[in-house]
């Protein structure tokens, strides 16, 4: 069987991506705070954290979709340090929402992305068949994705991410909403990518899954990297007997709540403030009473 992923650029364990003191602010919210990380070729890294921990922000910084407010992200390509944009040629991404066009068939979705990578349709089709075979998806390639279940959409998105033979695979909650069999197939595919020497960045809420799939786990909490190492190292660091206890110990402080994320324009902000009631109904009121007040 052909490898599912390329490992063309450099030796295993050579640095692929370095984040130096990276911070990211949205208005006055600090989504990520002074992150220092090095991802090596061949790593299968799990990014674990709760909602709003900063996982997606970190992933987007790694892809170059966000620019750091402070610090820098360096891609170590075949020809030395290169702009982060260059990494996109070697990157396969499965976003949390899968990002499929519902009026296109699964194959058309995949073909769109391989074309953007400059791959001929014939070559892309061959690779797609190989991947679809591994995920038991061959019969669905010609169907519009509109009627796909969550699992089918996830599989199509994974094939799309791998069809241009990237050497880095980035998965954001890849098994979220999948049934047991589909989740196992996805994990098996990640295993194949790892065996082919590819680099995988695996973002998940589920610690057990990260432990099962990844060699290295990065725990993010409130925009900070709280721990970075193998499951054994994390347990040793926290003196806990299992990874779940280690995670709880590392993220013991309350998760932050974004109550004023600055995504509105000035006019929209003024308008919202004018129209938003300043006081909520009293705790003692029943819903009926509240309705009567209205």
């Amino acid at each position: 069987m052909k490898p599912l992923i390329q490992n063309a650029a450099g030796d295993s364990l050579s640095a692929l991506l370095t984040l130096n003191g990276v911070s990211k602010h949205f208005g006055h919210i600090e989504a990520l705070s002074r992150v220092d990380l090095t991802l090596n070729r061949g790593d299968v890294v799990g990014l674990v954290g709760g909602n709003g921990a900063g996982k997606t922000t970190l992933l987007r910084l790694m892809c170059g979709l966000y620019q750091p407010t402070d610090g820098n992200v360096v891609y170590h390509g075949e020809n030395g340090d290169q702009p982060l944009v260059e990494m996109r040629n070697h990157l396969g991404v499965v976003p949390e929402g899968t990002g499929l066009y519902h009026r296109l068939t699964a194959w058309e979705n995949i073909r769109y992305h391989t074309r953007l990578h400059g791959i001929e349709d014939e070559v892309a089709w061959e690779k797609t068949l190989q991947l679809a075979d591994a995920l038991s998806f061959t019969g669905e390639l010609g169907r519009p994705t509109r009627g796909f279940s969550r699992g089918m959409r996830q599989k199509a998105a994974i094939i799309r991410a791998l069809a241009h033979s990237p050497d880095i695979l980035l998965l954001d909650e890849p098994t979220g909403g999948l049934d047991v069999t589909s989740a196992r197939e996805v994990r098996s595919l990640v295993g194949q990518v790892r065996d082919s020497g590819g680099t995988v960045i695996y973002s998940t809420h589920h610690l057990a899954e990260a432990q099962q799939v990844c060699d290295r786990i990065i725990i993010i909490h409130n925009g900070e990297v709280r721990a970075d190492g193998s499951p054994d190292e994390l347990m040793e660091q926290t003196k806990e007997e299992n990874l779940e206890d280690a995670y709880v110990s590392l993220t013991a402080d309350a998760a932050r709540i974004y109550d004023d994320v600055d995504t509105e324009g000035k006019i929209a902000k003024i308008w919202r403030k004018l129209l938003t009631p300043r006081r909520l109904p009293s705790n003692t009121s029943t819903p009926e009473e509240v309705n009567e007040d209205e």
């Binding site: 979709l65 990002g99 066009y101 953007l116 990578h117 400059g118 980035l170 995504t263």
Partner: protein, 414 residues
């Protein structure tokens, strides 16, 4: 693959995907392509045919008309067409305040017992016999309206006859007395403009308006779908992770929207010319516009520059929105901002028009189209509208490229 070839390949991939996606959405296809294709044939061919057939149908209505007067006015009754009508005479009712007071006839007119009642009352004024009249009818009833129309036609004919009789009694020739000033010869032969030029002039009063409005409206939906729609559905993130620059993405989407919009406008203009051709073939009142090759090329250039500006601006505004609802609310008023100057431009006198009018966005293209349709080619004006349109198009494209570089483009409302 060379760098340029690679860029072209990616732009083409985006444009192709967007077009496939668009064609699969049959509702948008109907709204943007089919409706402009049928709207003018419907308006200019089907609607007159329908009106004609309805008028014929109305003329066959079986009507009940009552004529009320002090005594039967046989002179007049002769003009009232008895075909498909039951005409009866009655004496004027007593106790009515004036002829227009329905009095005892109110209920039978209201309940359509009769379709119309003509009341006639003779009198003398300045030694001449005059007739006062009124028609009692329900103006919301089609039969009553048809009855009223037939009565008025009969009254007009009777009035003409009375005037002629009065003039002859006084030894006056009705023809020379009533028409002392007349057109000599064939009125059409005196117009040195060809039928085609006349048609071009008439069309210059509304083709530019159609082009401007339809370019803006037909580009709106695809612009929203390809930008805010992508953000809303969460497809933008995966796309932006691909090795395509934001400018290439903008260009690919712009080409797709411009093609869709141009197809819509072209379909509408072709349908308009087809409808005009149909009317011209069935009547000698209207011709097909005659345009020189240079006029056609200038027309295409002006539409293209306008489309670049409008589509780029719509894409830029739509991509700022995180949902299609937000984008719709932003772009909706923009259509008004195009329609209003477009309407004003229709009333600007082209004769001796000041140069600055050709510098105002939207107005410049509208005036250019009006001039071109009348085959008027003035170099100074062309330089002004082409130059200013190019600058506006480039500014809109620059603004759009800045919006496509926004970091929050990846954020979805979901």
């Amino acid at each position: 693959m060379s760098k340029l070839k690679g860029r072209m390949f990616r732009v083409r991939a985006v444009a192709t995907k967007e077009l496939i996606d668009f064609v699969r959405d049959w509702r948008t296809l109907i709204a943007v392509i089919l409706i402009p294709l049928i709207i003018f044939p419907l308006l200019f061919i089907a609607l007159p045919l329908l009106l004609e057939s309805q008028a014929e149908e109305r003329s066959e209505f079986e009507l009940r008309i009552v004529v009320q007067s002090e005594s039967e006015v046989t002179d007049f009754m002769a003009f009232l067409d008895g075909d498909n009508a039951n005409i009866t005479w009655e004496e004027l009712p007593a106790g009515i305040a004036n002829l227009s007071d329905p009095g005892p006839d109110y209920s039978r007119v209201r309940e359509h017992g009769v379709n119309a009642i003509l009341r006639l009352e003779g009198g003398v004024e300045d030694n001449s016999t005059i007739w006062n009249y009124s028609i009692l009818r329900d103006s919301t009833d089609e039969m009553a309206n048809e009855a009223t129309k037939r009565i008025v036609t009969a009254l007009d004919t009777w009035e003409e006859l009375l005037i002629e009789a009065t003039l002859e009694e006084n030894d006056l020739n009705p023809n020379t007395t009533l028409n002392p000033i007349r057109w000599g010869g064939d009125i059409d032969a005196s117009d040195v403009a060809t039928k085609g030029e006349q048609a071009g002039f008439a069309l210059s009063l509304f083709i530019p308006l159609i082009v401007a409005t339809w370019t803006a409206t037909s580009a709106m939906q695809p612009s929203i779908d390809m930008t805010a729609g992508e953000r809303e559905r969460g497809t933008m993130e995966a796309l932006l992770c691909a090795p395509i620059s934001r400018f290439e993405l903008l260009l690919g989407k712009w080409i797709a929207v411009a093609l869709i919009s141009a197809t819509g406008v072209l379909a509408q203009v072709c349908a308009l010319f087809f409808a005009i051709g149909f009317i011209a073939s069935s009547s000698d009142m209207f011709g097909v516009p005659e345009l020189s090759l240079s006029a056609i090329l200038l027309m295409l250039m002006s539409i293209l520059l306008f489309a670049i500006m409008v589509v780029a601006f719509q894409l830029a505004l739509a991509v700022r929105s995180r949902s299609t609802k937000e984008a719709g609310s932003t772009l909706g008023p923009m259509i008004i901002a195009i329609i209003f100057p477009a309407m004003f431009a229709q009333f600007i006198n082209l004769e001796g028009v000041e140069g600055y009018w050709f510098l105002i966005p939207v107005v410049n293209v509208l005036l250019a189209l009006r001039e071109i349709l009348t085959n008027t080619i003035i170099l100074e004006h062309i330089i002004l509208w082409a130059g200013s349109s190019l600058i506006y198009a480039l500014l809109a494209a620059y603004y759009a490229s800045r919006q496509f570089n926004r970091e929050d483009l990846v954020d979805s409302i979901n």
